[in-house]
Structure formats: C-alpha cells, structure tokens
C-alpha cells in the first residue's frame, strides 16, 4: 500500500510558501483550509494559473504523477475545486486516488479526512 500523501502539509502549504515569494498577488494567501484562492482576498487570474501550475509541479515532484488539475472533471463541478485550499485539497486527493495514491486532506492531524485509493 503506498504511503498516504498529506495534501496540505506536503503539497499545498509548500506551494503557498513558494507562491508568496514568486507571485505578486499571493501576499494574502494563508495556510488555512478556508483560504480563498481567487477573488478579492485571493490571487488574480494569472496568479491562479501560476499557483495551479506550481501545485501540479509539486504533485509530480512528490508522486511522479503529472496531473492536469484544470481538467474536464474540475470544470464540470458545481463548486469549483479552485474555490479555496480545502476544495483544492479534496480535488487533488480525488485525482491522486485515480492514480493509486491514498491522501489525507485535513489541516490538523486529529481530524484527518482520508481518501483511499481503493
């Protein structure tokens, strides 16, 4: 069984740190599940593009899987996976499950939501 990927700790929070250093509109990003990715307190459109590409890159570094997050599946959702860090974490876990990875998508260890690879 593959190790469980901690989506916040190993993917999204490091990307937030990286984004704050390289994306001008990322200053308002916070390492919380509710942090919005887009809009008034989030990234501008180009910043979001860069954030998503950074996230895809980080996932590939970690898992060797080259995901395309802006997929048909993402675009057809009633709630955008890119709404906030939690929705993105859940979506990443779902995509990784398709690739055989199990993921944890909570920001605290005592309330870990696990998404099994099945």
């Amino acid at each position: 069984m593959p190790p469980v990927v901690d989506v916040f700790g190993e993917i999204l929070f490091p990307v937030v740190d990286q984004a704050k250093q390289t994306i001008a509109t990322a200053a308002g990003l916070e390492k919380t599940a509710e942090c919005p990715l887009f809009g008034d307190s989030g990234l501008d459109s180009l910043g979001l593009v860069r954030f998503i590409v950074m996230t895809e890159d980080r996932i590939e570094d970690l898992t060797r899987v080259r995901l395309t997050l802006a997929s048909d599946r993402a675009m057809s959702r009633r709630t955008s996976p890119f709404k906030n860090l939690q929705t993105l974490a859940d979506f990443i876990a779902e995509c990784l499950a398709d690739e055989g990875f199990a993921s944890a998508t909570a920001t605290t260890a005592n309330s870990v939501r696990e998404n099994s690879a099945g």
């Binding site: 180009l46 860069r50 590409v53 895809e56 890159d57 590939e60 060797r64 080259r66 395309t68």
Partner: protein, 226 residues
C-alpha cells in the same frame, strides 16, 4: 519536436542535432534517427496519456525544455463534398489538438525558467484559401489562432510563440497531391519555386535566437505569400 520521423520534421531535427542541441522527438512510429543527443518517443500527439511521459522525461533528465517545434501535421486533399467526417477528426486531432497539447505541456516547464520558444507550423495554403484543402486550411487557421492567443497568454512567462507557413515542399505531405495542383499553387507565390526544408529552418532559427525575445505572435509565410 513533434513529427521527427520523416520529412520536414526529420530535416529540422537533424539540423538542430548538427548545431549541437539535444533533441527530443516523437512520432507515431519508431525512428531510425541515431544520435547520442537524440531521444525518440513513439506517441500519438493528440493522446494526453502518451504525450505526458515525454514531458516527465524532459523535466527529470533535462530540467525542462528550451524550445518546442510542432512539426507533426497531416493533410488530405479532397473536395469538401467528398470529405468524410473521419478526415476532419484525424486532421484536427493531429494538427490542432496535438499542437495545443504540446504547447501546454511545454509551457508548464518553460514557465519555471521564465523563458522558452515555441514555433508552430501553418501553411501558405491558408493564406491562399486553397481549394481542396478546406479541412487542412481550417486546422492551420486554428493553429494560427492558437499561436497568436498563446503568445499573449504566455508572454508574462517569458515564452514567445510564433509560426512559419511553408510553401509546398517535396515531402510526404504533398506526395498524393497532383503535380498540376502544386504548380498552380506555386504560381500564386511571389517567388515561384517549391520550398526547401532549409527555407523553413531559416525562419525557425530566427524565432529561436536569443535576440528574438521581443518577437512573438508572428506568422511568417514563405515564398512571398501574404
């Protein structure tokens, strides 16, 4: 590079190998191009699953990609009334979907370095609205649009996107086209001769030069076609 097994793509791959570049190429079939600086992938350019490993390889083994040249292309000369829909699917898959997929994946790597060059292939048949090439011309019109829009979208990442539109060149792509059709097309050019692969390479060389960092969203037709 895409479409490196034969024809123009093969010529361009050999040109850049001779210049000392490391070339990663792909085509539907195996390649007999042998060089220490050439790596071939067998892939359908329109199939995301078969394309992604090429970019994983580029990322892992070369740390990214400097240039992308999309030469893979297919055509079919036929009157529109005699063109099956499967022809449209095949031509758009290779020429449009393939070009887009490679641009997207290459740009993902290029943006990390904040630099990159993408060159796509259009055709003078597009400017000449060539009869019998409705689907091919429509697909290349899409490539031209892609080139222009991607140039704007990717400019913030230091990536230029341009295209070159060759005249007919004696390659497999025009092997099935009647001689008189080719002669009629050449007669509409300002410079009335078949193109040479070197004519195309010359324009690509220009787009790839470091000094061309301010040149993007441009399409250069050869042979004096406007």
């Amino acid at each position: 590079m895409t479409g490196t097994r034969t024809g123009l793509g093969r010529f361009i791959a050999e040109h850049y190998l001779a210049q000392g570049h490391f070339v990663v190429g792909c085509s539907r079939g195996d390649s007999d191009l042998r060089s220490d600086r050439y790596r071939h992938f067998t892939a359908d350019v329109a199939n995301e699953r078969s394309v992604k490993p090429i970019f994983t390889y580029l990322r892992d083994e070369h740390g990214g990609v400097d240039h992308l040249i999309n030469t893979a292309g297919i055509s079919s000369m036929n009157h529109a009334l005699l063109t099956p829909l499967s022809t449209l699917d095949a031509i758009f898959n290779t020429n449009v979907k393939g070009t887009f997929l490679f641009c997207r994946e290459a740009a993902r790597l290029m943006q990390k370095r904040q630099s990159g060059r993408i060159v796509n292939l259009t055709t003078v048949a597009l400017a000449l609205a060539l009869e019998g090439e409705a689907i091919y011309c429509a697909s290349k019109a899409a490539v031209l649009s892609l080139t222009q829009v991607l140039a704007r979208e990717l400019a913030p990442f230091g990536i230029t996107v341009n295209s070159v539109g060759p005249t007919p060149i004696q390659t497999d792509l025009i092997r099935g086209v009647p001689k008189e059709k080719i002669e009629a097309l050449v007669a509409r050019q300002a410079i009335r001769r078949l193109g040479e692969p070197g004519d195309v390479v010359n324009v690509i060389d220009f787009f790839l030069r470091p000094e061309s960092s301010f040149v993007t969203a441009q399409n250069i037709y050869l042979g004096g076609v406007t």
